[in-house]
Subunit: 314 residues, 2 copies
């Protein structure tokens, strides 16, 4: 099995989460420059917008980077063509099955890494030709599945032969080392990069992440079948109480519409969607992306050494 | 900080989960005999019943064992007195604050280990005089909190100085090693012991655990504020659909009443509460408790060695 650094041509086995609105070219370029795989989140954007983002990353670094594509985006066809035309080194995909695009992507040399939340879907993606898999636990921020990182990663690692990248609530080197023990060959980091110096995220949103404790996230949308993890605020308290009474899915969508932009761009911490993982409680300072990755790698080795000390003594 | 093996006088840093109906003297004695800390779950039982269980464990082994006490049991006062009178080596506590009992317990030499689901509660328990803490992630079977093991354990370990025992979805040595990297000094194992040879659990229930995949658990009771993780079956599909329509908490309680006994004792896999953690997908064989612990310890060392190989190569 190829290591994820070898597969992607990167220095550290770290890829950045494809966070809508947050994962734009400043952050992606900083992560790639720093030795990881930076990602542009295409969200519901069109090909022209994403082309501009791709070019902006390339102006800043010649290192590998990627684009995240949501399969439910009606413009997914165009985005896949763009990725092929622009020879984007890698893509991650969410919310659907990229299988039908994989032959053309592989022919163009694009590395394809679907994000999954179950072992069965991981197997399906491997059969479709995926190069690696992101196994994302339910402690992640934003749209989530039901299985935790501690349980998803080993079950996906047992199910497939392609490399598994652990995601969901991983912000520190201790957790990174733990994920490797569970069978991961790489990490996807979201929330900690959201608070990176280079992330174009309203300071008030970053400050809420930095101040958060372990119990500060909630999950909305469970009643509609589309769970999303966010920091508690006025909007989310309102939505959760409406969900308890039994909210109509359409009304739920209306209440959520535009709220992520409101958080990231406008910095509205009361009525914006402050997407964040449970690891927000472990993210305590704003740092450059490169420093974050160096720290994670250093802490990984330290955590490993301390476990060695435990075994030597027992 | 004392190691958990030293604190409890046991060979392996493994304690058995206090699973109601499942954790009775056969299983507890087998775990204690095998080198871990076996536990008797007192559930809603009275002191006489628990005294019989304690004596039955003592007839089988002279090694340390414990009793799990639910603080919401109206008979908690009696059970605490029983533990003191019988000089039970250790207790774990759930569903409430055992603080007021701690001085008397400590005077009697009983080791007190509350089970918590947040860093704030762990801190409160430490201040109250707890000897160690079980930090239980939401992937656990039965009554659960909201934070995953991967995120709860490091945040609790950062918050307290007493030893942290990781719980929630831990069934294998890889996960055990991961938990140690996250800051744990010991493990609580539930679901895997539920399928132990010595566990007095209907074979049909064990078989459902052994056959489960990663996606086979669901959480009922989120709408009533008392979430419980169980394997999917007819009863749970019915309850989940009723919860979606907005079920009355009292009606919910009526639907659940007696269903755990129905699963454990009667083996009714359709209408019983098949409590199990997400690690059910990793539990694939029925084994003696002692063998389970030996395997976890061996796998821990193997996982650690393989991470060493990774660092040597990178």
């Amino acid at each position: 099995m190829k290591d994820i650094t070898e597969l992607l041509g990167i220095r550290y086995p770290i890829i950045q989460g494809g966070m809508a609105w947050v994962a734009e070219y400043h952050l992606a370029a900083a992560v790639s420059k720093g030795g990881g795989l930076g990602l542009i989140a295409s969200g519901s954007a069109d090909a022209d917008f994403v082309r501009g983002q791709v070019q902006a990353v390339r102006e800043r670094t010649d290192r590998p980077f990627g684009v995240n594509i949501m399969m439910m985006n009606p413009l997914a066809d165009d985005l896949m063509q763009l990725v092929i035309d622009e020879k984007v080194p890698a893509i991650t995909t969410g919310a659907g099955n990229p299988g039908k695009y994989i032959p053309a992507l592989k022919e163009a040399g694009v590395i394809v890494i679907p994000v999954v939340a179950s072992a069965a879907l991981a197997k399906r993606m491997e059969r479709a030709g995926a190069d690696a898999i992101v196994a994302e636990g339910c402690e992640a921020g934003g749209h989530i599945g039901e299985i935790t990182t501690m349980n998803l990663v080993p079950q996906v690692a047992d199910a497939v032969k392609i490399p598994v990248i652990a995601a969901g609530g991983i912000a520190t080197g201790r957790q990174a080392a733990a994920a490797f023990l569970l069978g991961a060959k790489g990490l996807q980091v979201g929330t900690r990069f959201l608070a990176a110096t280079e992330a174009q995220v309203a300071q008030s949103y970053k400050d809420r992440v930095l101040a958060a404790s372990d119990t500060d996230t909630v999950v909305t949308g469970r009643s509609t079948g589309h769970p999303v993890r966010v920091l508690k605020n006025k909007l989310m308290r309102e939505i959760l109480s409406r969900e308890k009474e039994g909210i109509d899915p359409e009304e739920f969508e209306n209440l959520m519409a535009g709220t992520l932009r409101k958080a990231v761009v406008d910095g509205d911490t009361d009525f914006g969607s402050l997407m964040a993982g449970q690891s927000a409680g472990l993210v305590t300072k704003e740092q450059p992306a490169a420093e974050i990755m160096e720290e994670i790698m250093r802490e990984m080795r330290e955590a490993y050494a301390s476990l060695g000390a435990y075994f030597a003594a027992n």
